[in-house]
């Protein structure tokens, strides 16, 4: 957030500010990315005072990016569009092992198939105050292995949210394997909203 606030200033984008003694830029991330995760599909809503050309705005912001961060596309949302954060319903992830893969690719595929064949997958969720059992099976929309990577589509957002680390830990343990949180590189590929007829659509293409 701080990174983008500064980039927006450097780019000279006429961003809108909140009222009050310490006005802040009106920005919202669709879903803040955890530290240590890679991504190729993040979304940021920016409220601006004026915008004559969305292409120019995209270029101006792209010119201020550090290596490894690119502004891939930009578009103007209709007035009163719901903000990105409130519409996120699902996310795609790739889980890979640069080294120290816990099992072979075949075993991984087998494990994923067995895992998703279950009707329910109860896990213990801990919050600061209490613990409760949650069934994560309904949150897994798709899970498949491809080579030495796992591809996951799962619930994400305020209504239901599944962390890919949680899934991986549960799945590996169910197969009697060890879970090393630092060995797996997780990439978020895209975020999705649900259309009125229940379809998942990439936020980039979502039209309310």
């Amino acid at each position: 957030m701080r990174y983008f606030q500064k980039a927006i200033r450097r780019a000279g984008i006429p961003v809108s500010f909140s009222q009050g003694y310490h006005p802040h830029q009106l920005l919202t991330f669709a879903s803040p990315l955890g530290v240590g995760m890679e991504s190729s599909g993040e979304y940021l809503d920016i409220e601006v005072e004026e915008c004559s050309s969305i292409e120019e705005l995209q270029e101006a912001l792209e010119a201020q990016m550090a290596e490894g961060i690119d502004v891939l596309s930009a578009r103007i949302l209709p007035e009163h569009a719901a903000n990105a954060m409130s519409i996120v319903a699902a996310a795609d992830y790739r889980l890979g092992w640069p080294q120290n893969m816990p099992c072979t690719a075949d075993e991984l595929a087998q494990l994923a198939a067995q895992f998703t064949a279950q009707d329910s997958i109860p896990i213990l969720k801990k919050t600061k105050k209490h613990e409760r059992v949650v069934d994560i099976r309904p949150m897994i929309y798709d899970l498949r292995a491809e080579g030495s990577s796992l591809y996951l589509r799962c619930a994400s957002g305020s209504e239901a949210n599944l962390k890919p680390q949680q899934l991986l830990e549960t799945m590996l343990r169910s197969g009697g394997l060890e879970y090393n949180p630092y060995a797996c590189l997780i990439t978020r590929l895209d975020l999705f909203a649900r259309t009125k007829d229940g379809q998942l659509v990439s936020l980039e293409k979502y039209n309310g």
Binding site: Q5, R9, A66, E67
Partner: protein, 626 residues
């Protein structure tokens, strides 16, 4: 993608991995050619602290402005990474290229406070550079130190190849020219150091020998080579408006301590508080021009996208064009929705007016630093602030809407009595009374005043009038702190006053190293080997390990702290000419004992010795030598 020295699995398991990436906005990445000088500039503390320090940014730009030099940054790896690097034998790397520090020509380490000395050893150790300068070979980087603690470099003398005494802007270019010349002609490290030692402001410890009397005091401190000077004179910038200053400061990814654009408006201070080392060693007071500051403020805000700018100086209120500067910034920042932070302002009508424009008076505290509780004590330390000033300022602040006050004091000051300590409580109570005299309906805030009293322990520092005094011992400090706590608790307005205090142990250690000599290097090595690191971070201070380190090294710490040093004793830092003469400091010490104040530099020149720099306040019209 940029190369990284740390593998993904390490970056995933350490706290705040962005500390170690080095590809921040405005970082300088140079292509390295043979024959270039590679300079690693280190701050011996964690990234967030080091990145907040203006001096590194200035030197970074200065060195990178040279075509033949690539300067990169290094910070202390946090304890989590420290452990991993030691276990897996990963050498310390510079951020920009991620190359090992060991491959560099220079490792520069800035010395901002004494309690970072174990972190200095960590930098050397992790880099694979021998701790002792004497053990280094042609393959090792030259280790150079600078910054305020270089005014007494002796406790670190064994670990450094050279120090620069004074402001870095002045000597580095010449030093690097000499280095290039030396390298081109195929001469040795020792040859370079001998050449360097002849550049004004450069101190090469190995060319000086120290002998001691039986009682442990210094008998002699002399060069062992006839080419090098007996006295090292501090070098200063004479025109601060015609010198390199950052235009594109690096923008960190993570939140750092000073997360804003920093505009250094002046150097030095006209006040002459007798406890303050910065106020003495950065003399003469020199201002930057209004035009220079306006230009740099705008350039830095535009190039960083920062949303806050802070003025930096020892006493901003003394900057002669402060209203013009502040009005310019208020105007510019209002339009751009940028916050202004104005530390070290004296409380008066002007500053209150400005502060009410840049902050929410209901939420922000007003800070006073009377430093001592009684007028007598304030006179001793030459803090030219009277009770009337404080109460008057407080009253104006209450009228302006403030209802929170922070007060800073020191305990353990020279000549301090119990009365001076209880005076702190009295002063806090008088401020509260001033508040409660306002009729109930017209009081600001919720009708109550919130006063926070903080005390730190006075530590005598080199090149101050108190460089000879004994530091108050732990028993005394404990007694005074308890006394103050009790007095505040029993006072009339105790419900409105909170009291915060500092840790003894840290101040005690700081005092030892501040006025220490070369013999302390053994203690530092033992403490580091015993696991001491990040000592200034409260939680990590290992008092027992330090105690053991002193015992094993056969050093009596009390020798450095609890002794009144005689006037004729050779002090470890006497070979440095910091501008202020020893005679002046002694005169000031005597004036302090007589409880008399000395006027500030703008009122009258007190002949401290800094006129030799031919700049700044010494040459303003009103000043004539006494």
């Amino acid at each position: 993608m940029q190369k990284l020295a740390l593998s993904d699995d390490i970056l995933l398991q350490v706290e705040k991995p962005a500390r170690y990436l080095g590809n921040e906005i405005n970082a300088v990445h140079k292509e390295i050619h043979p024959g270039m000088i590679r300079f690693a500039m280190a701050f011996p503390d964690v990234y967030e602290i080091g990145m907040s320090y203006l001096g590194i940014q200035i030197l970074y730009d200065l060195l990178n402005a040279r075509e033949d030099t690539a300067c990169e940054r290094v910070y202390s790896p946090w304890i989590d990474l420290d452990q991993i690097m030691k276990e897996r034998h990963i050498p310390l790397f510079a951020l920009e290229s991620q190359d090992p520090v060991k491959n560099f020509d220079f490792l520069g380490i800035t010395l901002q406070y004494e309690m970072c000395y174990t972190n200095v050893l960590q930098l050397l150790d992790l880099s694979g550079i021998p701790l002792m300068a004497a053990d280094r070979t042609e393959e090792d980087p030259l280790v150079i130190g600078g910054g305020p603690c270089a005014y007494n470099p002796e406790p670190l003398a064994d670990f450094f190849d050279l120090f620069y005494i004074g402001e870095g802007e002045t000597v580095y270019n010449r030093l690097l020219d000499v280095y290039q010349e030396n390298r081109r002609s195929g001469r040795s490290r020792e040859d370079f150091l001998l050449q360097a030692a002849q550049i004004p402001g450069i101190y090469v410890p190995r060319f000086y020998d120290v002998t001691y009397h039986e009682d442990g005091t210094i008998a002699s401190f002399r060069p062992n080579r006839e080419e090098v000077p007996a006295v090292i004179r501090k070098q200063v910038v004479t025109d601060l408006s015609d010198v390199i200053y950052p235009e594109k400061p690096i923008v960190p990814f993570i939140k750092v301590t000073q997360d804003r654009v920093v505009l250094e408006i002046q150097r030095g201070c006209i006040r002459g508080c007798r406890f303050c080392q910065a106020g003495m060693v950065y003399r003469p007071n020199r201002e930057r021009s209004l035009e220079f500051l306006k230009e740099h403020a705008v350039k830095m805000l535009e190039s960083t996208g920062q949303d806050e700018i802070s003025l930096s100086s020892l006493s901003s209120s003394d900057y002669s064009q402060l209203p013009e500067l502040v009005n310019f910034l208020l105007d510019y920042c209002e339009k751009k929705k940028i916050n202004i932070s104005l530390p070290s302002l004296r409380i008066d009508a002007f500053s209150l007016d400005v502060m009410s424009k840049v902050q929410d008076v209901r939420k922000v505290s007003l800070t006073f630093a009377p430093e001592a509780g009684t007028q007598r004590m304030r006179d001793v330390i030459n803090k030219g602030l009277t009770q009337e000033d404080i109460l008057g300022g407080a009253r104006q602040a209450f009228d302006g809407g403030w209802s929170r006050v922070k007060l800073y004091f020191m305990i353990g000051l020279p000549t301090e009595t119990d009365e001076d300590v209880t005076g702190i409580s009295d002063l806090a109570n008088k401020i509260a009374e001033e508040f409660y005299e306002i009729p109930k309906g017209s009081r600001p805030g919720n009708g109550r005043i919130d006063i926070v009293v903080s005390t730190s322990f006075f530590i005598p520092k080199p090149f101050t009038p108190f460089q000879w005094v004994p530091q108050a011992d732990l028993a005394q400090l404990h007694h005074r702190q308890e006394l103050l706590n009790r007095t505040i608790k029993e006072s009339v307005n105790h419900k409105s006053i909170r009291y915060n205090w500092h840790d003894f142990e840290l101040s005690h250690l700081e005092g030892i190293f501040a006025r220490g000599d070369r013999r302390l290097s053994g203690v530092l090595v033992k403490a580091y080997e015993g696991g001491c690191l990040y000592d200034s971070w409260g939680d990590f201070l290992k008092v027992d390990v330090w105690k053991k380190a002193f015992e094993e090294a056969g050093i009596d710490p009390d020798f450095y702290t609890y002794r009144e040093r005689p006037a004729d004793e050779i002090l470890p830092w006497d070979f440095i000419d910091a501008g202020v003469s020893k005679q002046f400091l002694r005169r000031e010490y005597e004036t302090a004992k007589a409880e008399k104040v000395t006027p500030n530099c703008r009122m009258r020149c007190s002949g401290c010795g800094c006129r030799i720099y031919e700049s700044g306040v010494c040459y303003e019209d009103q000043n004539t030598v006494q």
